[in-house]
């Protein structure tokens, strides 16, 4: 056992299951509190009532099936962090760090992401899951994502957060998010299941929530050379929380970014190669001429099988005119067997999808 005496102490804060607005307000309050030095360094665990969470700069019209959200009673909220829209419910355990930049050990996002994700992956390994960090922001198990993460800075205060999939309702997720997986179908569901996994899918017996919290907290605090002691909100944080909730639990916050759905179309192309059929769907940002998300499907032979999912991750937020170079960079120095399929063929198929935009 490592010697944990005399280490710096973080607060361990477990806020249970809450509405999305309350969880987002807590994000803002604790990040501001850390920045104003009224909050201690903190590791927090949380869960959500069913919610669709937009990235800070996203619009609900573009990213969500809003009618379906209303029908299913899924709350729509905006995060204070960036990235893509996600679906959350009690099947996911959220974990968050609120740290001073010194405690984080770096001002560089990639350094912090690696350190935190490798620590969290170590915790999952202790639960019996062969988890590993996948740059930039994911933790995966054999190419399938089990935890997505991201962060925000406010001055010298850092918030770094992740979600651990304990159990995932893939069909519900696909029905509320406009993921470019194609129409909701058995194929799309199967294709999503190839990309994500969960503790319940991997472990014969699911550990209790409390046990998962303890193992993750220990793994992360050990990696930072600290310990954690349970605690609650202090009065200053409670005041910041109420102030943040008033702002966030309102249509003004949720609708802060409104962009028309037709400015983010899904463009598609497919081609039958000797290695099999390859289909690509691209979530396209018309205003910025930027690829937001790519989704490959089909029956093309690629070994290792995870290659195309890794390429999807590599191509996130790529400007259209940098796409061919980004595809080439991805394959440089990588050992991939694709039965004669070349990186340029994949770039060509992506170009074909984007050309639809020009002819539309």
């Amino acid at each position: 056992m490592p010697d944990r005496m005399n280490r710096p102490v973080w607060r361990l804060l477990d806020t249970g299951t809450r509405r999305a607005a309350e969880n987002m307000a807590m994000n803002r309050a604790l990040l501001t509190g850390r920045q104003q030095n009224v909050s201690p360094d903190t590791i927090r665990f949380l869960a959500f009532e069913p919610s669709a969470l937009l990235g800070y700069h996203q619009s609900a019209e573009q990213e969500l099936n809003m009618a379906r959200c209303h029908e299913l009673g899924v709350a729509i909220q905006r995060r204070i962090t960036g990235g893509g829209a996600i679906y959350m419910d009690q099947g996911q355990l959220g974990w968050e760090l609120y740290l001073d930049r010194k405690a984080a050990g770096s001002a560089e996002m990639s350094v912090i992401a690696r350190r935190v994700c490798e620590a969290a992956a170590g915790g999952l390994q202790q639960l019996g899951v062969p988890a590993a960090y996948r740059p930039r922001n994911d933790i995966e198990v054999n190419g399938r994502k089990i935890s997505g993460t991201g962060g925000a800075f406010d001055g010298d205060a850092l918030m770094y957060q992740g979600t651990l999939l304990i159990d995932l309702d893939v069909e519900r997720m696909l029905s509320v998010l406009n993921i470019p997986a194609g129409k909701l179908s058995d194929k799309a569901i199967a294709s999503a299941r190839e990309r994500v996994t969960s503790l319940s899918a991997l472990l014969p017996e699911l550990p209790s929530r409390q046990h998962i919290v303890e193992v993750l907290a220990m793994a992360i605090t050990d990696a930072f050379g600290v310990t954690a002691e349970p605690g609650g909100l202090n009065a200053a944080e409670q005041a910041l929380y109420e102030q943040a909730l008033a702002e966030i639990d309102s249509p003004d916050w949720i609708d802060m970014v409104q962009k028309p759905a037709h400015d983010r179309p899904v463009l598609s192309a497919e081609h039958k190669f000797p290695a099999g059929l390859l289909r690509v769907n691209v979530a396209w940002d018309r205003q910025q001429e930027r690829i937001r998300q790519v989704w490959f499907s089909g029956d093309v032979f690629v070994s290792p099988a995870r290659t195309l999912v890794d390429l999807e991750s590599h191509l996130r937020d790529t400007l259209a005119d940098r796409m061919p170079e980004a595809v080439r960079t991805f394959f440089d120095g990588r050992q991939v067997d694709m039965l004669g399929l070349q990186p340029d063929d994949i770039a060509g198929l992506l170009r074909q999808a984007l050309q639809q935009e020009e002819t539309a």
């Binding site: 990235g55 800070y56 700069h57 204070i80 962090t81 960036g82 990235g83 930049r101 770096s106 001002a107 560089e108 996002m109 930039r136 922001n137 993460t149 991201g150 962060g151 925000a152 800075f153 406010d154 001055g155 010298d156 802060m256 970014v257 205003q287 910025q288 930027r290 996130r316 937020d317 400007l319």
Partner: protein, 145 residues
């Protein structure tokens, strides 16, 4: 012109070093606000920009806009209190402009300051710029632009 660890930091601008923002006083008394080359280097390529609305009064050290790079989001904070008089449509269309030209076409907002003489006491300019950023980069463990 100051260059600190490879980062260009023009010494005729006014900086809040902790917040990594600059302000330029224009001839008509308004301010142009932007991110430093150092902030751009830390962030990497910026992919989204959402400014506060024109006409909004922003207090010193409160957010005038939020930028995102990859999954990294951060507020850009007003160097002084004032009213936002313009946001940058070119940056909204191509947020990478901030990285390409942080002191020129990559400006973030224009402001009409409420109390420049009082608020600007907290900012550094001229010879103090290089030493201020050098200290910050040391504290951040930053290798260079």
């Amino acid at each position: 012109m100051a260059t600190v660890r490879g980062c260009n930091l023009p010494d005729d601008l006014y900086y809040n070093v902790d917040n990594n923002v600059w302000a330029r006083r224009e001839a008509d008394g308004t301010l142009t606000i932007g991110m430093t080359a150092y902030a751009c280097s830390l962030a990497g390529e910026i992919v989204s920009y959402t400014p506060k609305k024109t006409g909004k009064e922003i207090e010193q050290n409160k957010s005038v806009c939020t930028v995102e790079s990859g999954k990294w989001v951060g507020p850009v904070k007003a160097p002084v209190t004032g009213e936002i008089t313009a946001t940058n449509p070119d940056v909204a269309a191509k947020p990478g402009t901030i990285n390409a030209d942080p002191y020129g076409s990559g400006w973030l907002v224009k402001m009409k300051p409420t109390n420049w003489d009082g608020d600007s006491a907290a900012l550094v300019t001229g010879a103090a710029v290089a030493s201020g950023f050098d200290a910050k980069m040391s504290a951040d463990g930053f290798a260079g632009c």
